[in-house]
């Protein structure tokens, strides 16, 4: 996975200073956040459904071997082919091989996060294959050479003016900033691509083991186009995206639609269980499912993070996160943005490499409330921070900052010894007198604490501690 988390702070700074992005993010959050919450409140089965769905996901993950074997068996019975890819490279190679055997020149893609994760587009293009993203948002950012900034609305950071200029430049259409006209321009351009494509690539929102189907969900219909018109369909699936049976599947699927776009159910939901039969008038002649591990089995093996494999990438947590709402998706440095990205990106791409992400989140808990499955992201963010401070050979984590750790060790010693604590307190009261202050607030602390007062004032230590006051008032009685 390509990570650019090193630039976290710079990218975030730029995002915060960009008034257009700020209003786009605010608009997105104010529209989707509350709408999703109100759907949860009115679930026909009652609010318990979310806890149940969490348990369904957990059950599937806890029995993932059986789930995948069952799914693969059914799909093969129906004439589909199933491939297992341990790494990103394996997954890419499998796809390149299918493309070569089928003499593929033109690919149309439905939005899929796992193909972003494994870097599929680049690899296909390097082989001289034309690849077109077809989700309108993905198409826009592909034309612009950018990265998605939201799971469901990948181009939320672009204004209609920017899209208009982009289309004029890349598609040669007359300039307009009217979203319906722009949508129509893209519709026209992509329609030709759909008709000409010999391979369609999709992700998989959630497979159903018992029936042997993957499901794809879209509102635009682009995924149906990509999986109906070309002669070959290749679907990529993160190995954890599966439910055991139809009852559990439908509950999770509905919750996903609520979380993703505040809908009861996505506009187009397709259960795909194989290629078209010989007597079908249309549909792909070949269907391949590529099941991808790429670091997921390591998450599975760690009880602390296994819960994260229950995530269905709906994006609901982005729509309420105060941090995402300010710094935007690009700061997260991978396809997975927002709170989900802050947990998943380090787990897949390296905890040290993506250390900024879990440290940047506020731990306010809004994501957990908004998550249709009530996944405990704050707990996992804390667990990641603990790994960063303690180090963990199992995850190849080196402790992030030794001085910081030592400082806290000293602090804990001081706290355990009343006498030392009191002496230092007195010393502090003396020193603070010479700190620059105004309005009874300390304005600046010396290094190494200067960062603390960079953008806020600090309250000085009180003249007397609570314990001292207590003693005075009670005459020493406890």
């Amino acid at each position: 996975m390509e990570l650019t988390t090193k630039a976290y702070k710079q990218t975030a700074k730029k995002a915060i200073a960009d008034p257009i992005l700020q209003s786009a993010l605010a608009g997105l959050q104010s529209r989707l956040g509350p709408a999703t919450a109100s759907l949860y409140e009115n679930l026909p089965e009652g609010p318990d459904l979310r806890a149940k769905a969490h348990a369904y996901r957990r059950k599937a993950v806890d029995n993932l071997d059986i789930m995948l074997v069952t799914l693969a068996g059914k799909i093969r019975e129906n004439g589909g082919e199933v491939h297992f890819a341990a790494t990103a490279k394996d997954a890419v190679d499998i796809c390149l091989d299918i493309a070569e055997k089928n003499n593929v020149k033109h690919v149309v893609k439905g939005k899929s996060m796992v193909t972003e994760e494994i870097g599929l587009n680049r690899a296909l293009m390097d082989k001289g294959i034309e690849v077109n993203e077809t989700d309108l948002g993905e198409y826009i950012i592909q034309l612009a050479g950018e990265k998605p900034s939201h799971i469901v609305a990948p181009a939320v950071h672009k204004t209609r003016k920017e899209v208009g200029e982009l289309f004029t430049e890349k598609l040669g259409t007359p300039y307009t900033d009217d979203p319906p006209t722009l949508t129509r321009d893209a519709r026209q351009a992509l329609r030709k691509k759909f008709m000409a494509a010999d391979m369609g690539i999709s992700g998989c929102n959630l497979a159903c083991a018992e029936t042997g189907h993957i499901t794809t969900v879209s509102n635009e219909g682009n995924i149906r186009m990509a999986t109906t018109l070309p002669r070959v369909h290749v679907a990529f699936m993160g190995m954890e995206r599966i439910a055991a049976n139809l009852e559990e599947h439908q509950a999770i699927l509905r919750l996903m639609s609520m979380g993703a776009a505040a809908q009861q159910i996505g506009g187009y939901v397709s259960y795909i269980g194989g290629p078209a039969a010989v007597d079908h008038a249309d549909g792909p002649q070949a269907f391949h499912l590529v099941i991808v591990d790429n670091g997921r089995s390591r998450i599975l093996a760690d009880e602390e993070f296994r819960e994260m494999l229950c995530c269905i990438r709906c994006g609901a947590c982005l729509n309420v996160c105060p941090v995402y709402g300010k710094i935007g998706g690009h700061s997260y440095g991978s396809a997975y943005t927002g709170p989900v990205g802050a947990v998943v990106t380090p787990l897949l791409g390296g905890i040290n490499e993506a250390s900024h992400l879990c440290q940047g989140e506020s731990l306010c808990g809004a994501c957990r409330v908004a998550c249709p499955l009530n996944l405990n992201l704050p707990r996992m963010l804390l667990a990641l921070r603990a790994k960063l401070s303690e180090g963990d050979p199992r995850w190849n984590v080196k402790p992030k900052s030794r001085p910081e750790k030592m400082l806290f060790q000293v602090w804990s010693r001081i706290n355990q010894n009343r006498k030392v604590y009191d002496i230092l307190l007195k010393l502090g009261r003396l020193i603070q007198k010479i700190m620059p202050s105004s309005n009874h607030m300390i304005r600046r602390l010396p290094w190494p604490f200067s960062g603390w007062t960079q953008s806020r004032d600090m309250k000085p230590l009180a003249g007397k501690t609570f314990m001292e006051l207590w003693k005075e008032h009670q005459g020493g009685r406890s």
Binding site: K59, L68, D90, R160, E220, G221, N222, G274, A281
Partner: protein, 250 residues
């Protein structure tokens, strides 16, 4: 070891199997009492009991940007669809053609006999699986048509969802590629909500026998996107309009 075995073994190791044995109830085995009752309710639903479903559908369709047409019978539906074909303008090019499923209900409309339609070609997607040339022809007719007419297995009132399994003659692209999708169902095919749909799919004998087929699609409204500044636009890649015709029970 082959990659598949290795892949599954990695998962087994991560899960700590053996030792940790799988529970017996991973998959469904029999319907609950509640589901049995629901099945019975769907099977014995009367015309009177469907009135509220139609009312609910009427309330749901506007927010999904769908058009609902309630018709007294097949002939009325055929005339109304004929008018639609005449009134609407093609999105690509100027000539009009229509493509229909090869389906008993759609065939009963006898659109090619509607006099007003005159020279407008009405294709259908009947195919017996033997002639690849015919398959190519179907594809180009679907691409050229501005209206596609399908039926559906069920229509769900609460969410205005059409459920369609894939079968010979019922080309999937008819509900997808033409600019306008017309779906015709009988009132008897109405269900109250998604729960009823899934209960049928899981437990109705005929449904179980058939399975979900290679492709089950649920359609709720025409194609839409809000990817440019969150402005809702209909007709992103699929149909721009979806007209739902319900034919009253006789």
């Amino acid at each position: 070891m082959d990659p598949e075995k290795q892949f599954i073994n990695t998962i087994k190791t991560a899960l700590g199997r053996p030792g940790n044995q799988p529970p017996a109830d991973l998959f469904t085995t029999s319907p609950s009492q509640e589901e049995k009752t629901l099945l019975e309710k769907i099977r014995t639903r009367t015309h009177q009991e469907r009135v509220p479903l139609i009312e609910q559908l009427r309330q749901t369709v506007p927010s999904l940007h769908m058009d609902l047409h309630l018709e007294a019978g097949i002939e009325e539906a055929a005339r109304a669809i004929g008018r639609l074909i005449l009134e609407k303008e093609p999105e690509w090019g100027t000539s009009k053609s229509v493509v229909c499923w090869d389906h008993p209900l759609i065939n009963q409309l006898k659109l090619s006999e509607v006099a007003e339609l005159g020279q407008i070609p009405i294709h259908n997607t009947g195919y017996d699986g033997t002639d690849p040339q015919r398959k190519k022809e179907i594809r180009s007719q679907v691409e050229a048509s501005f209206i596609g007419i399908t039926s559906a297995d069920y229509c769900i009132a609460a969410t205005a969802t059409l459920a369609m399994k894939t079968r010979p003659g019922h080309a999937r692209s008819v509900s997808l590629v033409p600019s306008i999708h017309v779906a015709v169902v009988r009132e008897e095919q109405l269900l109250a909500d998604l729960r009823e749909l899934y209960t049928l799919l899981k437990w109705d004998e005929a449904e179980r026998k058939e399975g979900l087929t290679r492709n089950l699609t649920l359609i709720s409204g025409p194609s839409k996107t809000a990817d440019i500044e969150l402005v809702m636009v209909h007709g992103a890649h699929g149909p721009r309009e979806l007209h739902l015709f319900i034919i009253a029970a006789d």
